[in-house]
Subunit: 458 residues, 2 copies
């Protein structure tokens, strides 16, 4: 049996019913409390108690409006709607924890890199080095049009913009203020040495940022970099830059194939495989016995919003199946840019083509990821299987109901993972990065962010 | 003696040495702890204990680089440099308080109104209706260039942009989601009624936002609106929109003149005078006796950074006095756009023209505002005098040292103001707005934000 450490991440969003459309209506679900600071404070304490490495907060800047050609389904069923800003909940959670990491989603079309870099540095300061950034390139047209963009920027160009956006951030985070720039020398009345603060002089295709970073160096400088792109260009971007890569796969075979491709891409960049952790989305539905778990699953299933599941599917794939019968087969999709998402669904049942009903079943609990139902031992066995067979490093645990799913998993499964030596009892580093990789707070030396240089004329 | 209630606001910034350049180096000053969440948590508790109405967090998106033609002075002396994001500290403070309000500065050139409106709604939800927005139009060229703007946008156009930016926000906050749109009806599985969620269909000169707000209605909907513009166009903007107006005046005569102009402007808009509170910046340096206060002031004065004061002055006025002797008179400034700021300084000593040294003395402790030195009774008398003679509604209290200035004021002066019936013992409302005006959580009916309508076609 493998003794490889399993990384545990919780997956949530500042919205009701994140990856389990309709389950906000379950009597035990508290996701409608997303507006209440106590929900986040209690969740953070719970996750740190069970030694989750981090919590990853998803985000979208639009409403799912492909299904039926309107947002009505998403609004009615609370399908990631309404959706609040993911940043403001991090300080609430960091104030009541010491080690839990926080991955926050922000799109490169959301905010200018000059102010975004300051926002991230601020959070890294206030959390003592516990933030990560999930880099996304906004996939919803309903987001783009509200930001004044005529239509969504083309998929490939989005990654060109993302690459330059990252360059600007790297320069601000890594190269603008030297390590010993800040003195806070009260005796000699020197706050910082201006000779050690440098303009970044960035002039690119999309951004022009001549000045210095507004923030002094934070514990990690660059936040831990998350990425979830599954397309060829997205994977290449992730292979160069990301430290945590999230995948969503309905089964081990599909995950294994995705992991293989990602590892190949990383190989090509010259980075070491152990600098990148791959986590797969996973909804554990656990009971004290297998029977209890199955009952729990059947109970949850009653709350799945079928239309809500198809609204999510519509937003992810661009495909509106509102006119189709449940047994309609979904197979021939001739659009490359959405294939990467759709492949996951067409592989739900490998022995036959997927139907609309298959999509509802798959998306209904756990969205794009896998669900596992069983006793604590069975769930732990399944997780080991994913690690050993698919080669993932850990799990991005989404909820069927919140905080119930996290609580059940913590109380019932984590003790078993600990017994098996797969999850450490204590946190092992001071910052999020150090905790994950055990090699200090900063990016490794040959990471492109660390390699970024600016002309030091002043 | 007047029994008019005095409003108390604390003034801080996510930076060392906010309005008292150089005083970060005083042994008792803790402003260099701005990166530490505990600084903000302790401050919020202190302010609520002494029943401050709110805390106002200033911000700049650039470094003061007019003095001597470089940012070196600002960096060396910690003059509002480095400067972190003002938003992330609000959830830290709101989690440990129940009634304190939070005014956050955000420039209309910082972020697109679609995402900004969501950020504010999120904070209003998480704080249970305790946020305010200080609307600014970025005055530093060093900010504009880093945001990709070739140069600062012209002063007057900045207010045109601000006006449209506000229109977009009003539509999203006030008119997109009806009051009863959100059901959270678990029984019938309806999160929200799509018939009651409306696209705003905004098409203006600067922004095009077709969609609906991403957030459901928050307790206040529109945050309490702060404004500090002193120019003619800025005052007109404030008169139409603002609920709290901040002024900085070195003495009662100057404040009285500014208040008179603001009240005239409000008169013209048809709004009632009691819908707008005017607060003046004020640094109380208080001792148990007058003698002790004077000693305290002399002690603080030793830490003023002269160059730092002139760096602030340079940023505010655009005037570089680095080549001038301390006794150089500053009088003939032929630039209308900066006159509104400079007037405050040229009035420091009404009996003779101001010199460079006068600017250092004035700006050194309390920036653009007035400082008062004395026993608790003397400070309370001075405050009453400002209220009765200048017609201000209260004070925006900046620190000489933090949290010392706030602590001294709370412990020594607030009890006297209470005794005199000028400051209530308890908070009087549930939200920031209700606390300030006692007329509910939302904007009054004839406020332009409340008047905003959107076409309800869906």
């Amino acid at each position: 049996m493998s003794k490889r450490r399993i990384y545990l991440n919780a997956f949530d969003m500042n919205t009701p019913g994140h990856q389990s459309p309709g389950l906000w209506a379950h009597p035990d679900d508290r996701s409608h409390r997303y507006k209440d600071s106590e929900y986040w404070i209690e969740l953070a304490k719970l996750l740190e108690k069970w030694r989750f490495d981090g919590i990853f907060i998803a985000d979208v800047l639009g409403t799912y409006d492909v299904y039926g050609g309107s947002r009505d389904t998403a609004v009615r069923h609370g399908v990631q709607s309404p959706v609040n800003d993911p940043f403001q909940i991090v300080p609430l959670m960091s104030a009541v924890t010491k080690n839990l990491g926080f991955g926050v989603t922000s799109s490169v079309t959301h905010e200018h890199p000059f102010t975004f870099a300051r926002k991230m540095s601020t959070l890294d300061h206030l959390t003592n080095g516990r933030v990560g950034w999930n880099i996304v390139t906004s996939y919803l047209k309903s987001a783009a049009v509200n930001m004044g963009l005529e239509d969504q920027i083309k998929h490939d160009e989005r990654y060109d913009i993302a690459e330059e956006y990252l360059q600007v951030c790297y320069k601000l985070w890594e190269a603008s203020w030297e390590d010993d720039a800040v003195k806070v020398d009260k005796l000699n009345r020197i706050y910082a040495d201006p000779e050690k603060v440098h303009d970044i002089r960035h002039e690119g295709k999309y951004y022009k940022v001549p000045g210095a970073h507004l923030s002094e160096p934070s514990p990690q400088r660059t936040p831990v970099l998350f990425q979830a792109g599954a397309s060829t260009k997205g994977r290449a971007f992730a292979a160069r830059n990301a430290e945590l890569i999230f995948i969503g796969a309905p089964n081990i075979a599909a995950a294994k194939e995705t992991v293989r491709k990602i590892r190949e891409d990383i190989q090509k960049t010259g980075r070491s495989q152990d600098e990148v952790k791959i986590l797969t989305m996973f909804v554990p539905i656990v009971g004290r016995t297998e029977e209890e778990a199955k009952q729990k699953y059947e109970d949850y299933r009653q709350y799945i919003s079928k239309e809500g599941a198809l609204a999510l599917f519509g937003g992810w794939t661009g495909v509106d199946v509102s006119g189709y019968a449940p047994d309609q087969v979904i197979s021939y999709i001739e659009n490359d840019s959405i294939r990467s998402t759709l492949e996951n669904f067409t592989k739900i049942n490998l022995d036959r083509p997927s139907t609309v009903q298959d999509v509802i079943d798959a998306v209904g609990i756990g969205g794009m990821g896998a669900a596992a139902i069983g006793s604590p031992e069975q769930i732990a066995d399944t997780m080991e299987q994913w690690v050993n067979e698919a080669g993932v490093d850990g799990f991005n645990i989404a909820y069927a109901i919140t905080p119930g799913t996290f609580k059940d998993f913590g109380e019932l499964v984590v003790p078993i993972l600990r017994e098996r030596g797969l999850v450490p009892e204590e946190y092992e580093g001071n910052t999020f990065r150090d905790n994950l990789f055990g090699k200090g707070d900063r990016l490794p030396n040959h990471h492109p962010g660390k390699q970024t240089k600016v002309l030091q004329l002043n």
